[in-house]
């Protein structure tokens, strides 16, 4: 009943956002600076971690920290744009469905459910010999758009049907005014949480597809390709697998935590 959100949700959302922001910042810094440039052959191959190379170097003589920063940026950008497209397509569709048909049967979308669909699509697009980055983009974006449609419908429907919205419409504000005053502020946190969920899913899909060789093409550097390349040397240099895997998992978890915290703050507010 209370309008003040429980502090736990805020803390959770704050920590999630902060963690994801630090990772994104490090990834962005790679555009202007990395510890060692991250160019293959710039150092001894497979150097041990130490003062010079904090996480050592890979088989091409690339500094792992520098490579991680660039790879994270690639992965995040891919996931970001695919998610953006998903939301741009999905939210209007979901709103339309909510307005026409009311709430759907699915209250909570299990985002992990879009993974298999995305992998199948990635395989199909790979078979069609689409440009690999485009194929990853589509493989994430298409199921993502469907997920965004279903998710935003379930967020929009109760608010669109809310009696305070009806009251505002009757007060002469019409749909536009009522939407501005009541609907948008009410659904925005939910939609942002949906976007964060989708972003986390997209990141994991990119990593999985690239790892399977269906994603970012051979020369490109993403968290998925780093995992793929490092796997051959996993026995000797486990860090080459652990480091990109950990970055991917931590980033996804941070995003999911932010989303869940954001939802927590809205609990009890219809």
């Amino acid at each position: 009943m209370s309008a003040t959100p429980p502090p736990r949700g805020r803390l959770q959302a704050g920590s999630g956002v902060a963690l994801a922001a630090i990772i994104a910042l490090l990834a962005l810094i790679s555009l202007v600076w990395t510890p060692h440039g991250g160019v293959p052959g710039s150092a001894t191959a497979l150097a041990e971690p130490g003062a010079a190379h904090w996480l050592g170097t890979d088989q091409t003589g690339r500094d792992v920290v520098s490579a991680l920063m660039s790879a994270t940026l690639t992965s995040l950008l891919l996931a970001w744009f695919a998610t953006l497209v998903s939301l741009v397509v999905g939210i209007p569709l979901g709103t339309l469905l909510a307005a026409r048909l009311g709430p759907g049967a699915t209250r909570q979308l299990v985002l992990i459910g879009i993974l298999p669909a995305a992998l199948c699509l990635g395989a199909i697009f790979g078979g069609l010999r689409l440009q690999t980055t485009l194929s990853v983009f589509l493989a994430i974006g298409l199921p993502g758009a469907i997920a965004a449609t279903i998710g935003s419908r379930s967020i929009m429907a109760p608010v669109l049907a809310a009696e305070y919205v009806a009251a505002a419409r009757l007060a002469g504000l019409g749909w536009l005014g009522a939407g501005q005053r009541h609907v948008v502020p009410m659904v925005l946190p939910g939609l942002i949480a949906l976007g964060l969920d989708l972003l986390a899913a997209a990141l994991l899909i990119e990593v999985t597809l690239s790892f399977a060789g269906l994603g970012v093409d051979g020369s490109g550097l993403s968290l998925g390709t780093m995992l793929r390349d490092g796997q051959q040397l996993a026995q000797a240099r486990p860090l080459l697998v652990v480091a990109p895997g950990a970055v991917a998992v931590v980033t996804a978890l941070a995003l999911l935590m932010a989303a869940s915290g954001l939802r927590e703050t809205r609990r009890g507010i219809a």
């Binding site: 809310a162 305070y164 002469g172 504000l173």
Partner: protein
Amino acid sequence: MALLELRGFGVGFGATRISGIDLTVEPASMLAVVGRGDGATSLLALAIAGLLPNGAKAEGRLSFSGKRVLYLDRESDAAAVLADAELIVADEPGRGRDPATQLELLTALQAASRTAAVIIFTADFRLALSMGLEVAVLANGRLLLRAPASQIFELPQYDTVRHLVGGERLRTRTMMRPPIGEPILEVDGVSRTYRRGLPRLGPPPVEALTGIGFAVRQGEVVGVLGPAAAGKTTLLRLVAGLDKPSAGRIGRRPGLVGYVFPDPRKAFNPTLPVGVSLTEPLRVEQTLLVEEQADRLVDAVRAVGLAPELLARPPGAFGMGELQRMALARALVGRPGLLLLDDPTACLDPAEAREFLVYLTRVRADFGLTAIVASREFAVVKAVADRLLVLEAGHIVEGGKPGELSDAPQQEITRRLVSMRYPPPVRHADEPVKALDEQAGLAVVVAAAALTAVEQLTAGAARAEPVPGADQVAATVLVDAEAVVAAPSTILADGPTPPLHGGGPPTDSVAEPEPALISEPAARPDAEPAQVAAPAPEPELIPEPEPEPTHNLSATIVIAPVVLAEPEVPAPAEPVATPEPQPLLAEIVEDVAAASTAAADEPAPLRPEGSEVQTPPEPEVQSSAEPIAPPSGDGADEAAEGGKAQAAVDGTVDAAGSIDDPDGKTAG
């Protein structure tokens, strides 16, 4: 040994807190815990059932010596009442269900109380009263008193008790209604069907409304009476333009429509102060100056009896009753041409519902409203509407004036809705009042408090099994129609000696003509006697220092404790449990001014002159340990109300304009 014992028990959950509860419940007994609909009763019910939610903190002692507790919530029906429980905790049993289901459930509970202890938690005092239960009143988190329901009428020293008791009947009075004019709404052959699933592939569409046609004229209030899912909400949404009809035409004069939703909590954006929501209807009127807007806002809020300062609060800070009145204020701010109220009392407890209807009646006069009021409760629509439509399964099955429908319902559904009551079937004071109406040829302004008293008598009569120790005595209620028409009018009831308090101030405090007393039933052969029995009231009487709490009171009752010299009473027309009939004289004086001007004098038994009666000894006045609560914040309003009512009575003989609920059948 007691089955359930609470000693200094308390529990807190969120903002709800109860403490210092001492309660003993014996096996095979029945008790009603009555409180405001604010969650405290539910919390106690959960605590006793051992179902406290996480985060609830309990203190004190609660011991239950049985094995099995059965907990019933408002969704439970009679099938849920199991025989093997030793304690049955029923929270608002059947509330909001249709009357038949509720009746079945309550009857089952009554039957179960032969073997099990049954505790009913409710905000509806009438339930306890008509079932003749023992009542424990829970107010401000404490148990105030425990007494048979019928006695609580006689102990009005507790503010909350009076509030609960007052919520027992819905009663309002229309004042200076605007003249009824041209039709402003015409609904013609309107149907609304809802498709389920895909066209042609899914199940057949649902017809929510079929061939609805009616008109509403300027200044008229039309009531839509119907059970749950009859199509009331669909109809109002169509009229408001929130939905489009599948067929038919709705012609409405252009202008704003005010709408009051059933649940005020859902009708306000929970994140905004209510004041922000209330200004919305003003935004369309760009021409209004800021000062005018503020004036309109303040006018509307004051009209529903709330302070403008409350506008800064979020909806969560309001009680349901206040918030619903805020919703009414919002509907009024834009000066709507048509006001639609969708089951506005559905979420309110009986006292809040009564307040809401009082304010609704008042703003109707002040704002000259045209309105449609939908409700599943006859008492609600009857209290405010000029004309009713009965809606069943999407069809209008019947229509007419409230009185016509209650007197001669043509349809089964109407009969059911009109006569909704609790078990056991209680003999109400309908008959004398109706006789009074007929004989007078007018709908007479009947003293509200008199009805309370009469009903109190009848409630006692209807108690199926006399409470051991409580004397059952017969009483005769006599109604003299002529005497009523000529104010001051009189209802006579012969009964036991100790004084009953009808809630009104004693006439001694007001300069009014001596009431015409009729002490000998035989002396009035033209009067229609109705026989009822009354329980013997407790010998102690607590003075009633405040004016009658009822809003817009149109008359006052004084029940004079008089013993007839010869305790002869005509044989009761209906057999009632009457061990030793004793006469009681109850008298009603139609006295409007008393409501507003009565001083808080000590009540003294009325000693009528010239009647062949003896007065009983002065009742022992109990100096209550409980401080008498100050008059509620509405006191001034009530006084004003009384004054208005007086003006209405003095100015016109518009007795037909009075709306009361003599049947006292339904509320809340």
